[in-house]
Amino acid sequence: MGKLKVKIDNRLIEVEQGTTILEAARKIDVNIPTLCYMNLGDMGIEHKPGGCRICVVEVEGRRNLAPSCATDCHDGMEVKTHSIRVLNARRTVMELMLSDHPFECLTCAKSGNCDLQSMAIKFGIRDIPYEGEKSTYKPDTSPAILRDVDKCIMCRRCETMCNDVQTVGVLSAIYRGFESVVAPAFERNLDHSECTYCGQCVAVCPTAALTEVDHTNQVLRALADPTKTVVVQTAPAVRAALGEEFGMKPGTLVTGKMVAALKQLEFDYVFDTDFAADLTIMEEGAEILDRLGKFLAGDKDVKLPILTSCCPGWVSFFEYHFPDMRDIPSTARSPQQMFGSIAKTWFAEKIKRDRKDMVVVSIMPCVAKKFECTREEFATDNNPDVDFSLSTRELANLIKRANIDFNKLPDEDFDKPMGESTGAAVIFGTTGGVIEAATRSAYEMYTKKTLDKVDFEQLRGMEGIREATVDFDGFSLKIGIAHGLGNARKLLEDIRAGKSEFHAIEIMACPGGCIGGGGQPLHHGNSAILKARQKAIYQEDSGKPIRKSHENPSIIKLYKEFLGEPLGEKAHHLLHTSYFDRGKEIVIEADVKEENR
């Protein structure tokens, strides 16, 4: 097929057949504004309902204005993106949208990061000439996500993420016309739905219709309480993204500055979730080898493939949608929960504090972690192992509130012992990282040989589903990797159908893994940002002196002093969990008499 010649704002450009006006314009740096449109190119996620009408342009010879996101170019097309007719139409669309939007910008959680707000600024909107009905809807609070539907502009990006990408199917547009909103079935609250709290809806919401539940004030209160020892842990993916909140280039590693900031915020101990990630590898790696050993010895009942279990969105997903398969994932708790469990036992003993006088805070790239730490099984005497989980965005907010000039902070080191970690732990932050870390340790434990090269390039990348074979000294370990719950579903359905040939599978709920988590700085649809964060994660790994979890001196000490052996009794009690059947069940009711119908 030949190229098409198109003229946009009097500039000639040649494009392929099937290119939309919006894409063509962006090629020559004409940035037509969009609101409902979303394109995460590398993930194969595109959303262009043509609903908001902000991206309209004038096409010569066409009677009405064309939505540029959903109109293909044709040869000889002449387009004007900023004629007076277009500008007026755009302004009217914006004004109508704002006429049914709460004016809460001063107190809104999304202020400064809101696509609708920046659009209003860009268009120079100074007043709203339309006074009409305002829709009102009940707010919905869950342990992790807040829905304030009055702020919904019906772009329906969340619906695409929830249904097409994640296949969770909780959110849908309901009703029609002015009354239409996005909501769970029967307008139940999220905590009465099958929501996994993966937070991808929050990550793409242009306004504050969907936000994470804010726990910053509880953390500030704990920090101000002299009777509490406040311990903080930071997840691997946070250090690769936090800098963006302070104007740094995506992919800037800010590990040292982040530690310095947390110390200035007066956390008593600044530790690293990476420590617990190394611990996870000890347990999960041992479990992989245990199941593999049984399998190779001819045990027919052993459950393979083994699935990773560090991602709380993924754990909820299989509890809801694949409860019949809940004996397949590893029973190892997530690093966040392993950290909490060890902090309030081993470390509490060390500093001679009661668990009730300790507050464990986690900084996570995630909103599902907020739900995870409220799970009953992760508490002792009603005292949770992890008290509060903050997102990367919430941490940035705390730092700004404390008048800390983040960019000028010196690099500082994590405290010991729970701040010591290896390169294997930091790669937990990206898709493929957990299984690579497990492979590094499992290889050495299985073959009793030292790895020459710890980088398993075949496990890395951004493809939604990947597979690789690793040679374990003659035994071919088949590994599967999926990120995004829709991709996870495909692998699970294969397992259910008995078609899976993998021995081990890593699954992360969010596209890209934790670097693309629902609690990260908003990427506003730019997938290059995720790639930059991924690069930063591998960069931190390769710069670490120790790159295998089982060589972490503090982990070795922990087992020696306290835990005993991986999969041992104490480890089982403190570091493992069991899963619940949360699937829907049809209950047959006794026949009611016909007249009662």
């Binding site: 249904n163 849908s172 309901i174 009465h192 409860p323 949360r582 049809i586 009711e589």
Partner: protein, 162 residues
Amino acid sequence: MSAIKIKLRENDLQQLKEVCKSFNNEAGELINVLHKAQGIFGYLPAEVQEVVAQELNVSVAKVYGVVTFYSFFTMVPRGKYPISVCTGTACYVRGAEKVLDEFKRILKVPVGETTPDGKFSIAGLRCVGACGLAPVVLVGDKTYGRVAPDGVKEILKEYEDQ
């Protein structure tokens, strides 16, 4: 310990599954399946929507989205004699609203609801394609044409002793 339990009677469940099966359990047939299901149950309670979602392998949120989008579908049990007053353009200009008001006045229920005795329910409807008979009223499957407000009482009388 399932979180959500869907309570249904055996017979209803079987009927519903058969309806889905008659459409090859295809997701694209959702509207047709819901149409049939409402024909059987008179309305579409949450349990019915849950089963349809499971059988057609679509999310229940989507099913609920469709049910709330089309005014034909209802989650409220309809009366023994469901009354639909067409308020499409032709019927509207020929006085359908006054006819609708008269039904509301006599039965003392608003549109979309059912009388306490379960006998009548009132619904608005957009065009039944019988514009030549405007304004049109449907009671169950029976069609009444050129209905005037003072004819409403007479229509209701037909169902009084039934």
